[in-house]
């Protein structure tokens, strides 16, 4: 699969042009997206920007921005001025963004050419992209299966070869799990590394945007373009907020084996053990670690996240923008607009969040869950005294069949390894570690590397050596 870095090298040498690359992207979408349904919106006019970029390479060669002429796709919960930003929800079906998200501004400044908006679970709630109000996306590896979610459209857009880079958002695994299901690299930065300004808020203390790519080097490139302090998001961190880590060539990896003892497919575990062996063979140290609270992470997540969802989604009221239903009075307009506009999973989470925040339950649920987060962070910091990187499978299974997980709780359990990362705010990367067989098809499965707070660079260095160079 083509990477952004290899495209860039060809643009500089003149072997290939942005015009050709963007045309190829649009052609691939025309050819394949009828079946895959990764895209909600395609920007044909991107070809004009590509023509300008082509001229710029002719004039300036390597003296051009790092992503100039590279076609990319944006998850549709990221605001791009003048374009539909639906969050894959009926309530925002006709909503047009009035400004660019900070990350969009930075990607544009780096020369990236946005060719379209991609599908997702409604408001990023789900793990299969089946919760999109505009129909599910299929996994390009096996079209009877889901691409994962919630950034399933981002993953499918890259996996079907339309774009080398798609931007997703990750609240509990929404970049890493689809990357695992589609055989890609997916990156969730340290909380605060990337501005959330112009992203539709889901769980504000958990959300981060990151890239889905074909290589770790591409993920690093894109992350570094998007990251950095932003006056418009007070939670963004500076380079020195967390201590800078020593650079290393061999690492001590920690494996929370007890945490993987239940609910993980046997062949996924076998592929994981192979990966562990290959790390040892390459001179790394692998030790067992205990993270007892991580096993309760999913429970804490399903309190904190719905709580934040219920407050964040209160803004969709049918009054200022988005779908508005006819009603007798103001309350009637609110209740009907929200009833018609939200899908089943979104309603479920709003109700759950309203419940855990309501008087009499707040202390027992929300208070305890926030406390659990604090304790998980402490537990994690202790472990990072001893190990450099924590290692888990990204998801307990490969991509499942469309329509296979109707029980919400069964769907939630796919995120068991990814949610503790968001709860504690540390960075993590997922890249392919091998394949497993299902119905005589080879399906990719990902490994997750978790770093300490601010350890983004360490994950990129490790990922480039261990994945990119061995592909």
């Amino acid at each position: 699969m083509e990477t952004a870095l290899s495209l860039r090298a060809k643009f500089i040498s003149g072997d290939y042009t942005p015009t050709e690359a963007v045309k190829a992207a649009l052609d691939t979408i025309k050819e394949k997206d009828g079946e895959i349904h990764a895209f909600l919106d395609v920007y044909e006019e991107a070809i004009k920007e590509a023509e300008v970029a082509t001229e710029e390479y002719k004039a300036k060669g390597a003296d051009t921005p790092a992503l100039l002429g590279v076609p990319i796709a944006l998850k549709n919960n990221i605001l791009l001025k003048g374009k539909k930003a639906t969050g894959a929800s009926k309530i925002l079906e006709n909503y047009t963004a009035v400004f660019d998200a900070t990350i969009v501004k930075r990607l544009k400044a780096a020369g990236a050419i946005i060719v379209g908006a991609v599908n997702m679970d409604e408001f990023a709630m789900g793990g299969s992209t089946e919760n999109s109000a505009f129909g599910p996306t299929k996994n390009p590896v096996d079209t009877t299966r889901v691409p994962g979610g919630s950034s399933g459209g981002s993953a499918a857009a890259v996996a079907m070869g339309a774009v080398p880079i798609a931007i997703g958002t990750d609240t509990g695994g929404s970049i890493r799990q689809p990357a695992s299901y589609c055989g890609l690299v997916g990156y969730k930065p340290t909380y605060g590394a990337v501005s959330r300004y112009g992203l539709m808020a889901m769980g504000s203390s958990l959300d981060q945007a990151g890239p889905l790519t074909n290589s770790v080097a591409d993920a690093e490139l894109v992350h570094n373009i998007m990251a950095g302090l932003d006056e418009m998001d007070a939670t963004t961190i500076a380079d020195d907020t967390y201590p800078v880590l020593d650079s290393k060539t061999t690492y001590t990896f920690g494996v929370p084996r007890h945490f993987m003892s239940e609910g993980v497919d046997e062949d996924v575990l076998a592929v994981f053990e192979n990966h562990v062996e290959s790390l040892k063979a390459a001179g790394h140290k692998v030790v067992d670690i205990d993270l007892p609270l991580f096993e309760q992470g999913l429970a804490a997540y399903y309190i904190v996240m719905p709580a934040e969802v219920s407050s964040n989604l209160a803004r969709y009221d049918g009054i200022r923008y988005g779908h508005s239903a006819e009603g007798e009075n103001l309350l009637d307009v609110y209740e009907k607009s929200r009833a018609e506009g939200f899908g089943a999973e979104v309603k479920r989470r709003i109700l759950l969040g309203t419940h855990v925040l309501s008087s009499g339950y707040y202390d027992a649920y929300y208070g305890k869950a926030e406390l659990a987060r604090k304790k998980m962070r402490e537990e994690l910091n202790d472990v990072f005294e001893k190990v450099d990187i924590i290692l888990t499978p990204t998801a307990p299974t490969p991509a499942f069949k469309l329509g296979d997980k109707e029980d919400p709780l069964a769907m939630y359990k796919q995120d068991i390894f990814t949610v503790p990362v968001n709860l504690t705010g540390v960075p993590a990367i997922s890249f392919p570690m091998g394949t497993v067989e299902r119905d005589s098809k080879s399906l990719p499965v990902g490994v997750q590397y978790i770093g300490p707070h601010g350890g983004d660079a360490r994950l990129f260095v490790a990922g480039k050596t261990i994945y990119d160079e061995c592909k």
């Binding site: 939670t235 399903y302 009054i319 200022r320 307009v333 309603k347 479920r348 109700l351 419940h355």
Partner: protein
């Protein structure tokens, strides 16, 4: 039992969250939400409440910026007004809030 939800609970949450639910939703949601609430109840065993007075939200806190104007006058007004479901000139229209018995 902590976590078990009844029909009345769902109706109450429906009002609080400003989402009108259908009869079918009111019937299926108590069971769905009870299963989830039962699952998440394990957090109640995590630690005692005394530690709650030591909150830790994130790495940074009390972030301030200058209260300065970041956009030109009317830079976004037209775009924002055009997104309103109902508007009159430069105003957003809403339904009556106070009911009078006339």
């Amino acid at each position: 039992m902590l976590g078990l939800m009844k029909r009345e609970d769902i109706e109450h949450l429906s009002t609080l969250s400003r989402i009108r639910l259908t009869e079918k939703e009111i019937e299926t949601l108590p069971k769905e939400l009870s299963t989830i609430m039962e699952y998440v109840s394990v957090v109640s065993g995590i630690a005692d409440n005394k530690e709650l007075d030591k909150p830790q939200v994130g790495a940074r806190f009390n972030i301030f910026r200058k209260d300065s104007i970041t956009n030109k006058p009317n830079e976004f007004s037209e775009d924002i007004i055009s997104e309103m479901p109902e508007s009159e000139g430069r105003f957003m229209s809403v339904k009556k809030i106070l009911q009078t018995d006339e």
